[in-house]
Amino acid sequence: MPISLLGPYGRSIITAAVIAAMLAFTLSYANEYAHGSLLGFFEWMETTWFGIIGKTWGGVFAIIQAFHLLSMAVLGGTILVSEFRVLGIFLNEISPQTVVQRAHSTFVWALVVVLFTGVFMACGVATKVYYLPVFWYKMLALGAGMLFHFYIRMPLYSNDFSQLNPRVLQMTAIASLLVWFLVAATGRWIGFSG
C-alpha cells in the first residue's frame, strides 16, 4: 500500500504532491507539450461513430446535450443536498452520513451519464474544443473535482462527524460546491466560445 509506505500522513502527502504537480503542469511548458501531442487524438475522435453522428445529426447532438444538462442537474442536486446538510442548512433532522452516503450512489450514476454524454459531445466538436482554453479549464476542474470527491471527500465523510473538526467539514463542503460549480460554469462557457 503506497499510503502506508508514506507513513501516517500518506494521504496528505499524496494530496499536496498532486496539487503541486497540477500547478507545475499548468504553469510550465509541459501543458503546451501535452496539448500539442493530443491534436492527433482529437482529430481521431471526430472520425469515431460518436463524432460522425454528432456532426451529421444536429438533433441527436442536441438531445444528448439535453441529457448532459439533465444529468448535471441531478449531479448538482446531490452535491447541493449533501453539502447543505453538512453545512447544517437543511435536512438537519437526518444524520449527515445517511444523506451523504445515499446521495453519493445517485451522484455516481449521474456522473456516469455526464461522462458518457460529455465524451459523445466532445467527439462531435473535437477539433473545435481542442483549441478552446475554457474546454481545458473544464477538463482540469472535472479531474480535480472527481479526485477530490472520491479521494478526499468521501473517505472524510464516511467517518463519524462528531469526531471531525467542524471547520474542516465546512471547508470541504464549500470546496466541493465551488469545484462542481466551476465544472458547470466552464462547461456552459464552452457553448459561447469559438
Binding site: 501516517p8 500518506g10 494521504r11 496528505s12 478526499i152 474542516v168 464549500i174 470546496a175
Partner: protein, 55 residues
C-alpha cells in the same frame, strides 16, 4: 494484550482521521483560494472589456 491491540487500533484510527482531515484542508483550501483568484480575474476581465466598450 487485547487492551494493547485496542489502544494501537484507536491510535491508528486517530492517525487516519488526522491524515484525512489534513488532506481535506490542503485540497479544500487550494480549491477555495483558486476559485477566489479565478473568479476575480474573470470578473475583472469582463469589467475591463465593458469599460473599453462603453467608457
Amino acid at each position: 494484550m487485547s487492551e494493547e491491540i485496542e489502544q494501537s487500533d484507536s491510535g491508528q484510527d486517530g492517525d487516519r482521521l488526522k491524515d484525512q482531515q489534513t488532506a481535506a484542508v490542503i485540497a479544500a483550501s487550494s480549491f477555495i483560494i483558486f476559485s477566489v483568484v479565478y473568479w476575480f480575474f474573470q470578473i475583472q476581465s469582463v469589467r475591463e472589456l465593458l469599460e473599453l466598450a462603453y467608457g
